[in-house]
Symmetry: C3
Subunit: 346 residues, 3 copies
């Protein structure tokens, strides 16, 4: 297996062996974070980070990852780029990507719903960069997928349900376990990318999947079809429920997060305030201790930032079974591993 030069846009597009290579290296890097083994992997190399949408956590974790590999990540906000659009003169993605390939070892892109006219357009833009770039393109979250978050999620779950945090990872620790991904109410009108990626990677690693949300909050039908196919291939179950409680029964991993409805985009506009107003009508959709008591001593997971009091109570988010800080830390380790493998010739 040789991952050098490979793009990472969605985990579904990588083989299980390739995903495992990332997780295995991430676990080694976590155990021995500042080892001389990793210190010069990207020595003198540049990783470009294009933030169409700002994100403090994603930016810190990627920039720290590059630093720990001996390289340097540049934080770029493309508002400063004059890209060609249907309405305005400017540079084509082809030209931008080809020039960047001359300077950098890799390119990360983040683009979410409020910077695009319709669902899917962010993912398409990343693929357009990947088409022309000679260097690996890493999806740092788009409107559909968030592969680095998905890898950090399963790494955390394997640690908590397996040998412990920082210990060797065992994929068997989550195989056959029940993953509940449940909608939470909230005031942030969030993207689908994190939950869709978690559904995909969880089902591929052999978890039973329950998806819970109020009527009217369907996710991308194509992604759901893929999750079903993953479950079928693994002989596991997939179900969708529309009440806030039943999905918790017997769950091993509980993932409670708000997401916007499919009506959020209409006529090329992102109706953020309307989404928030609508979502706040479902206060019973919160992960609390009472619901957690129905699980098989489940861990609570979340890609952060947690909207406390809406998506989960403080008692759960800060409770003894919350793995949120470990998952957040894992973003660093999986991203180091991805960069080392795709850009570092490791």
């Amino acid at each position: 297996m040789d991952l050098y030069g490979k793009d990472l846009i969605c985990t579904q597009e990588w083989s299980m062996d390739e995903l495992w290579a990332v997780l295995d290296l991430a676990a080694k890097m976590k155990r021995d974070r500042f080892s001389p083994r990793w210190r010069n992997i990207l020595q003198g190399r540049t990783f470009l980070m294009f933030f169409y949408n700002p994100s403090v956590r994603t930016r810190i974790s990627f920039e720290t990852a590059a630093t720990e590999l001996g390289g340097h990540a540049q934080f770029l906000e493309p508002r400063a780029m004059r890209l060609k659009t249907e309405k305005t003169a400017g540079e084509t993605v082809e030209d931008a990507a080809k020039v960047m390939s001359r300077y950098a070892a890799g390119l990360g892109i983040r683009i979410l719903e409020d910077k695009i006219p319709r669902y899917g357009a962010g993912d398409e833009l990343i693929r357009e960069y990947a088409r022309w770039a000679d260097i690996p393109v890493i999806n740092m979250a788009d409107d559909k997928f968030h592969p680095c978050q998905g890898l950090a999620d399963v790494m955390g779950w394997m640690e908590w349900l397996g040998k412990g945090v920082g210990k060797p990872l065992d994929p068997e620790a989550i195989r056959g376990k029940k993953l509940l991904i449940t909608w939470g109410h909230g005031a942030l009108a969030r993207s689908w990318c994190s939950v869709q990626e978690a559904l995909l990677i969880g089902s591929r690693f052999g978890m039973h999947v329950t998806l819970a949300y109020p009527e009217g909050y369907d996710l991308d039908p194509e992604v759901i079809e893929q999750v079903k196919a993953n479950c079928e291939a693994n002989g596991t179950t997939f179900e969708i429920v529309h009440d806030p409680v039943s999905g918790y029964e017997g769950a091993h991993v509980v993932y409670s997060r708000h997401w916007m409805s499919p009506q959020a985009y209409r006529d090329g506009v992102f109706h953020k305030e309307e989404e928030i107003e609508k979502a706040m009508r479902y206060p019973e959709w919160i992960c609390d201790e009472e619901k957690m008591a129905r699980t098989a001593n489940a861990i609570f997971t979340h890609p952060m930032p947690v909207d406390r009091g809406h998506e989960a109570t403080d008692a759960v988010a800060s409770g003894p079974r919350s793995c949120i800080y470990d998952v957040a830390e894992n973003r660093l380790h999986v991203q180091k591993a991805i960069m080392a493998l795709t850009m570092g010739n490791l």
Copy 2:
């Protein structure tokens, strides 16, 4: 003494031995700036800089300091962070600080008056981060204190009144000397942090202190009480005068700087234009050669940027007894020393 992991929010909270350890190391680092001894102290390590208020000088000096220690400082503007407030959903400081502690070796924060609803709120926010962070939190200037500036100030004074710039530091060079901190008129409505920190650290190092300002420009009464206590403990004098001339008599160090009045904050609003208009009514409050002639051949000091023509004349600010560029340079050296000691396990 082991400073590893220690926060620095105000110099008053560090012992004299601890402050001296910083100054002593800073002087060594200044003499041998690019020595291999310091080059890898923060190798692969990340220092996060949160600039609620932008500042070119503070940013350059901290980022340069991290680079010279082999690490990397990330420049972050928290407008991109969705922090929870009384009015808006978002992440708690607890969650933000705990996650950052997983990624970084240290966290610097700068927050001044125009980003907060009342005096003191900036310092409180830094202390809230420090409460939850497992990594050292460094105050890069808040509405009350500016410890790195205070350390750079006394380092410069010791050089100029002692063995010379870049030479070994001698705390006796300033002990028993007279420090005049005088208000200057001006058009910038400046924070109290630099002058309050200078009052605190100057008095702790055994200087006689004279504070001069027009009626109506009182500083924080709690800080003034602490300065008086420092003077009492050292057997030195502390006085406040309200005329622009008399304080210069016999002074060894003259520090002329504008600061806003206690009326600058009312009803959660920072009345900047009103402050500027009021301050410009006192043109006699300027440090000029005539006033400097009354001193004991005093040096002129200022944390920069100097508002020339208001706080001091060009003849003084660019004169042979101006130590302003050396003090500015010392920001770099003291910050390298602070980072090495609190984050670098030195």
Copy 3:
């Protein structure tokens, strides 16, 4: 020859030997990009980049250059600086430049037409910084000149007309060849800096120069006088034509780019929309295959970003004789060489 500490504001101000030293080193660095020979030239050193005007390409290429030399470039937007102006209080350029000289190994500045009240004011500001700074000041593009682009241009032309890309450079490859610099229509109201620098450096390296543009699009008369003088000194020809076709006859290098008219600035205002509207009236001013067929198998060059469909057709810009990506890459190599020679004591 010792370039340590030297400013680079326009290539015209450097001797041919000095320019050749840059190009020769750039070619070596290109051949062996991550050699240990260059890796530590700026170890622990800081290069400050002041972007009055943002630019993704210039920022990436300079920041990457610093990283590849082992140093660090800080991306600064001076809106955060409180500089003194005729109307506002703030810091003088003298104070800013003197303090930066204490922290950094070099200072790059970019300032274009929309940040200044009149043509020439950007170049003057850079020279004001250079006057007070003790460290080398590098022009990263101002309203008059763009020396790094000019060096990257001739490096690319020498590669394509000489021994090939990445091969040893031969200045004889362009001597006596015909350079056509032609105006293109377009919707971006572009600065004069790149074309003026190309005229200057092309003529100094012994090229025959043809400048083509519609009546009303004169460039800076002082620059044109200098270009004529360069041609005279080299015994080459210089001509200006006002039709979009004739200049192509026998050309070896074709440089098609839009630039604004001398009327763009009036009354301290940059009339951008008016310029664009006017420029779009000349659709025949485009570099296409038909015109290129009149040349002596010329290469197509452009400093990028290309305004495709206005300045050049896709067939030309992406054609087999387009050297645009190689020229863009050369920005990195010449900037590494400039930094190594002026800041790195090489």
